[in-house]
Point group: C2
Chain length 410, copies 2
């Protein structure tokens, strides 16, 4: 395993982790942009643009993009988050070059107006499909309420109205503003030759515009204690989402946050599992650590029959208060560390996962971290680290949002 | 990568593939038994027993089984098919011994009557949840109709009635009959010491009863041409399942069958994709190669608006007839081989997948096959092999079952 790093004259970052015993090569283009970077009327443009990238270039139409990936047996896709948009493909080592050729090509899309209009319909259908899912609606609406005017509250999909109002001119402006070479990282992991990869990225992406990219507003999240009920008649279950501030993705406390949320909410056995799910009080109950650029949160959620929602909230508040007061046990700490280490190791067997990890660490930390670095950091989480985390980001003052049949909690 | 093989005095087979550069070790116990081995009133007992195996032993209750897996960060589960029942876990190399200890322990379950009655409710709920899914009902019912009195037609879940009527005595009989050591294969793949693994399997499983196991009825499937309509009012889509005989899992024609079904039905682009899905005539359309012990089949399926179901059937029949007459193109052959090889390689990056492959190959072929053996066999599929397959198992005389709002096709 060896790490490589270079920057093209136009500012594009090229990263590599080579592993001669890997069977494949995974590569990705990470663009440091997402819904939090949308301004004005642009809501939904990052995700919409991700779709448009597959609609073709000067050299390939949409059909040819699909066929060319298929010809080399690529496992390819893309995703958009609040903070990044990632295009990736995994292939056999002999197809490193053609895979890179397609990815580099589509990252300079034509953005044809006719495709834009057709795809707008697809996106609006996608939003409509999500809107009818109550767990998604509860998540999306509570996220917006918790982050308030912080850009991390922006919806990735946008609304049907915001997407409908978007123009291809707006998308082009967003593309020119955010897809500058200086805002892009090309990453490869697995079995390939670094010099060849770097030379090819240079040949294919060296001419990309590398203009400066505006810095993000970077501020922490604030607690917004309170309870908000969003009645939705047609839903049978009550979906409860509880938000509180947590450490950012760059914080040294992030490992403690992963361990703590595993102890509180892991599906294989955790405080919430034994208190709510195992006895049948709730259908699901968990807590995630939402790690963002300079801002983070804890999101505790459960779903249950509406008549048990209020009693379950009391249980959740008690569980959180007990942890806040007493911390966790030696045994919980040991089990959670082992669980997280095992998952990290199993995930890393795939070159795809290593590629995502290398890209992500660079985006958030500007740093390369080996699998062993990660395992050592997880292993170092002790009672003192958990205490420091709880003192800095207490598990209280939750902003609670309940979506479902209830009109009030009592 | 090195292969190891031993047999305990009681007949239990022990297999290993060691790979010093792997990060984890995956192990599994394969029992050569499934719904096809159920006789008389036993329908559903194999799958029910798989659940009961996690309910505890003399040394551990159900809670302890879960906690012990969780303590070592194991990714563990089990599945039941028509022909095998597999219990597995993946762990970090240092937990090979405790992982093996739990698996070997649970494979001699207590089968307590109180647990049996509780779990019966869980299984019946599971069946009820499946029954309301029309695509599953179409699959389960068409499978039964196609295989007729061939044991491969047995339902894995059974029915709510058959499960309700099962007694713990029947389960114990089935366990004694099918879970003999002579019918079990223990497999490990990844980073571990073979001698230690073998010694531990011997220590933990050497005392298992190793009585003889009855041989299976082994006969090929027969074509059952015809069209059967199963009206189901509340369904909005029509689900069409088409069955025809195909090669068995042991047949040298199996690689050609994988390549051919990829050309006809792969979701990334294939004859059915371009003829039915891309133009919007059907929501989905694919074909699978169903490979069983001494018997196999092709299952072509599509779902669509009921009013287009009959026209789509004509398209499907034309696509099949064209392939039957003209074979496939050079380009299709090349693309499909690349696609299958790439998926095989990417899958093999996980020790879990290698463990499943080693166990499966031994069950069906009594043979160890390396990844390179598989890749070479896929690469060797040429026009002559496709022709031989089509001559032996023609793509016609389909048994077609349509479940949905339609009462007739016209």
């Amino acid at each position: 395993m060896q790490f490589h790093h270079a920057t093209l004259p136009n500012g594009l970052t090229v990263l590599g982790e080579t592993n001669a015993s890997a069977l494949s090569v995974a590569m990705g283009f990470f663009v440091r942009t997402g819904s939090r970077d949308e301004i004005g009327d642009e809501s939904g443009v990052s995700h919409f643009l991700e779709h448009m990238v597959f609609k073709g270039t000067e050299r390939r139409d949409a059909l040819q993009v699909n066929r060319d990936f298929d010809r080399i047996g690529a496992d390819n896709n893309a995703f958009t988050s609040e903070e990044m948009t990632v295009y990736y493909a995994s292939v056999l080592p002999e197809y490193m070059q053609p895979s890179l050729d397609i990815l580099a090509d589509i990252l300079r899309p034509s953005l044809r107006d006719s495709d834009f209009q057709t795809e707008k319909k697809v996106i609006k259908d996608e939003i409509a499909r999500y809107e009818v899912r109550p767990e998604w609606a509860a998540y999306d609406q509570s996220r917006k309420l918790f982050f308030g005017d912080h850009p991390l509250g922006h919806s990735i999909l946008g609304t049907r109205e915001s997407v409908d109002a978007l123009t291809s001119r707006q998308m082009m402006d967003y593309f020119l503003r955010r897809y500058s070479a200086a805002n892009v990282i090309a990453v490869a992991a697995g079995n390939y030759n670094w010099d060849e990869f770097l030379a090819s990225v240079g040949a294919k992406c060296g001419s990309w515009n590398g203009g400066p990219v505006a810095a993000r507003r970077r501020e922490e999240t604030k607690p917004r204690p309170g309870l908000q009920i969003i009645p939705r008649e047609k839903t049978t279950q009550e979906y409860v989402m509880m938000w509180a501030p947590g450490p950012s993705a760059e914080s040294p406390l992030r490992y403690a946050a992963h361990v703590l949320t595993s102890i509180i909410g892991d599906y294989t056995g955790s405080r919430l599992y034994w208190e709510l799910v195992d006895p049948g009080f709730a259908d699901s109950a968990d807590i995630s650590y939402v790690d963002g650029d300079a801002a983070g949160a804890f999101l505790l959620s459960y779903s249950c029959q509406p008549e048990t929602a209020a009693a379950n909230l009391k249980i959740v508040e008690r569980v959180a208060a007990e942890i806040q007061r007493d911390g966790v046990t030696d045994d919980e700490l040991r089990v959670a560390r082992t669980r997280l280490a095992a998952r990290e190791v199993r995930g890393s067997e795939r070159t795809h996962r290593r590629m995502l990890g290398v890209g992500r660490d660079w985006i958030y930390l500007n740093e390369y971290r080996t699998l062993d670095d990660e395992l050592a950091a997880v292993d170092a989480v002790n009672h003192a680290a958990i205490r420091e985390l709880l003192d800095r980001y207490p598990l209280r003052d939750w902003m609670t949002v309940a979506l479902g049949p209830l009109e009030k909690f009592d």
